[in-house]
Amino acid sequence: MLAPAVALGCALLLAQAGGGEEEDTEARARELLSHLGEKPASPPVIQPPASPLPMQDPNAATVCLTLPPTKAVPSGRWRAQCDDSTKRCLVAPMYELDADGVETERTLERVGPCTDESYFSDALRLKTYRLEPAVADAPPGWYRDERGRVMQFNFDLNRRLWLGGAWAPLLRDGEVEGRMRADFGISVEVPGEGKRLHRLRFLETELFLGEPSFETTLLRYDFSVERAEPLFRVTTFFGKPRRYDIDINLGLWMEVLHAEELEREDTKAGFLTWGAVHATLDLWHSKDLVSYVRVRAGPSVERDYKNGFTTLVPGAALEGDLTLDRDGFHHLRVGVEAEKVLLAQSVEGRPLRPERLRVNAGYELILLAINDQPLSLVVDGRGAWREDLQNVPAQWEWSGSAGLRFSLWAPARRSAPLATAARE
C-alpha cells in the first residue's frame, strides 16, 4: 500500500506545480506509476483479428509482452509494436501456431530483435493500448503466413549454386539427335564502391550426352558500372549555350580457363582458352545494374589441343541478361557472338582462319521452392555455325532444350521488398 500512496502523492504534487500544463503532468504521473509497477485497472484485451491480418514492420521497435493466457496462446507471450500517437499495438504470438491456430513450441524464425518488457519502463502503459492481432515481421523478400511460418518469396538467381538437367536435342543436317544436358555452376554478385556491380561465375559447366560434348569455365568475371561523371560532355553555342552529357559505361569482361570439347561426325575437337579479356559497353542497364544489354569485344588466347597449336581469337558479342520481375522469378538471356581464329597452323580439311558464330536465347522461370531453395524451368534455343572442325563442313546446327534447375543459396534480392509492400 505504501508505494501507491507515495506515488499518488507525487502525482498530486506534480499536478499542482504544473498549473497550465495539466495534460503533460498527468502523463508524467502515469509514467511514474508505471515505474513503480502499478497494475493497470483492467486486464489487457486482445481485439478480434482483422482480415487480412496486418503485418508488423521489421524496422520498428518490438517489445516482448506477457499478456493473460488465451486458448490460442496459452504462454501469453507476444511480440508487440506500439504506436503512442494512436495508442495501438500490433501483437503477434512469439511462437508459431499449428493448423488449429494454437501455439506450438517452435519460436518464430527470422524475426527482428525483441526487448523484454522487464527492460521497458512503459510496458504497463502499452498493455492499456488497443491490442490488435498481427503477423510478426519478416525480413525483405520473406513472407510470413498467419501461423507465423516464414518463407522466401524473392530469389536472387545471380547468387546461387545450381545443378540442372535438360533434354537438349540437336538439329544438324536435317536430322534430330537426342541429347541430354547436365549443367552446374556457381554465380556470385558483389556490389562495389560507387555504382558498380561485380559478377563472378565459377565452374560453369555443361555436359551433353548423345552427341558428346562439354564446355566448362573455371572463372568468368565482369562488372557493370554507372559512372557519376559523364565520359564526354558536348556544349553547343547556337543560341543559349547548352551542355549535353554523354554517359558511356565501359566495363570489363574476362574469362580464365575455358575448355570446350566436342565431337561431330568422325571429328573430335578440343579447345582450351587460357584467358580472354573483353571491354564491355552497356547499352542499357537497370537501376540496380543487375539487368543489362551490352556489347563486348576483345581477344583471347586459345589452345587447339587436338591439333597441338595455340591461336589468338578476337571476338565480339552482343548479349543481354534481364531479370523481368521484382521477385526474380523470370529471367531472359540472349546473346550473339562471333569469333575468328588467327595465327592457326594449317590443318587439312578446315580454313586457315576459321570463324565461329553463335546465337542463343533462353528463359528461366522459378516454378516452386523446396525448403526455400528454388526449382526452375529452363528453356533455351541455340544456334552455332563454325568452320573450325576438321573435315566437317561449316553449317548451322540448332538445338533446343527444356529442363529443370535446382538452386542452392539464392538469397533474397538486394532490392527485395517487405512482404507488406509486396502485398500492396
Binding site: F153, F184, L209, P212
Partner: protein, 293 residues
C-alpha cells in the same frame, strides 16, 4: 556384441541433451583434479588405422588415413542450420597378391535442417505445401581406384553429387538418412584407351548414419544403384552398398583408438572390368583430435 552396440547406440541417439549439460557430461575429473574427455566426435579428427581386408576370400593387410571435419553453421541467407561433414584426403591401401588403393580428395554431406520443410508455390498469396524432408547436398570429388593386379590402368570418378532428401530431419549431426538422385562422371583409363561414363541423375543414392551421443558408437551405411551412360554409347547398370560400425575402445592421451568393422558389395562396377565383388574389413584406427571437450 553388435546387437548390444546397436541397442546402446539407438538408445543414446534418441536422448537429446542441452549443449551445456552435454559438455559437462563429456568430461570426467581424475583424482588429481584434471579433466579428461569421455565423448568423441566420429566425424572429426585425423584418422590413421590399419587392419585386415578380405576380398573374395583373399586376405590382405590394409592401411587407411584421412582428415575428418564436422561443422555446423547457420545460413545467413536462409537463417536455418546446416550440418556438414567433410572427409578430406581419404586413402585406403592394401597389400597381398591383390594390391590396390582407393583415394578420395573430398567427400562431404551438407544437410540443411528445417523444423518444418515445405514447398512454396509462388501464387499471389504464397501457398505452402508440407515437405517433411531436410535437403542434403552430397558432393564427392576425385575418387581414384587403382588395382595393381588388373594391370595398368585406373578408375577415376572425377565428381559425384547427390541431391538427397532426409525424412529423419534430426536436430543434430549425429543422425541422418539421405536418399535421392546422384549425378557423376567416371573415367576408366586403361592401355586400350579412356572410357568416359556419366550418370546424369540416373542413380539413386542412400547415405545414412547414426552415432551415440557420446560418440563411442557410430554406424554408417551407404549405397547407390542406377545407370551410367558411356560417351561412346552403352548403358551400364551398377550398384554398390557398404556399411561400417565403429566403437571407441580406449583413448591414449585423450586420442581415441577405434575398432572399425566394415563390409561392402559392388555389383558390376568394380575395377576396369566392371566386376562384382564382396569385401569385408576389420581394424584399429587412431582418430586424433576428435575428443569433445
Amino acid at each position: 556384441m553388435l546387437a548390444l552396440g546397436l541397442a546402446l547406440l539407438l538408445a543414446s541417439a534418441a536422448t537429446e541433451a542441452s549443449p551445456d549439460s552435454e559438455a559437462e557430461a563429456c568430461l570426467r575429473t581424475d583424482e588429481r583434479g584434471e579433466q579428461f574427455p569421455i565423448c568423441f566426435d566420429p566425424g572429426d579428427g585425423l584418422l590413421l588405422g590399419t587392419g585386415l581386408r578380405v576380398r573374395d576370400g583373399e586376405r590382405a593387410q590394409s592401411l587407411r588415413a584421412g582428415v575428418l571435419i564436422r561443422t555446423g553453421r547457420t545460413s545467413r541467407s536462409k537463417g536455418t542450420p546446416w550440418f556438414n561433414s567433410h572427409r578430406l584426403l581419404g586413402v585406403e591401401a592394401w597389400g597381398g597378391e591383390q594390391r590396390g588403393l582407393i583415394a578420395t580428395a573430398y567427400d562431404g554431406t551438407l544437410r540443411r535442417h528445417l523444423e518444418e520443410g515445405f514447398i512454396l508455390l509462388p501464387t499471389a498469396r504464397p501457398v505452402r505445401i508440407p515437405f517433411p524432408f531436410d535437403v542434403t547436398l552430397a558432393p564427392r570429388l576425385g575418387h581414384l581406384e587403382r588395382r595393381v593386379w588388373e594391370g595398368p590402368g585406373w578408375t577415376l570418378e572425377t565428381a559425384r553429387v547427390g541431391l538427397l532428401v532426409d525424412p529423419v530431419r534430426a536436430e543434430t549431426g549425429r543422425m541422418w538418412l539421405g536418399v535421392g538422385p546422384a549425378a557423376s562422371h567416371t573415367l576408366r583409363h586403361s592401355p586400350d584407351g579412356d572410357e568416359h561414363t556419366v550418370s546424369p541423375f540416373t542413380t539413386l543414392m542412400l547415405d545414412t548414419g547414426l552415432e551415440s551421443a557420446d560418440g563411442l558408437w557410430a554406424l554408417h551405411a551407404s549405397g547407390l544403384a542406377g545407370w551410367s551412360l558411356g560417351f561412346e554409347g552403352g548403358t551400364y547398370f551398377r550398384a554398390r552398398a557398404e556399411a561400417g560400425l565403429e566403437r571407441v575402445l580406449f583413448a591414449v592421451q585423450d586420442q581415441p583408438v577405434v575398432l572399425q568393422v566394415s563390409g561392402a558389395y559392388v555389383h558390376r562396377d568394380a575395377g576396369l572390368a566392371r566386376g562384382s565383388e564382396w569385401t569385408a574389413g576389420a581394424g584399429l584406427a587412431v582418430r586424433a583430435f576428435s575428443a569433445r571437450w
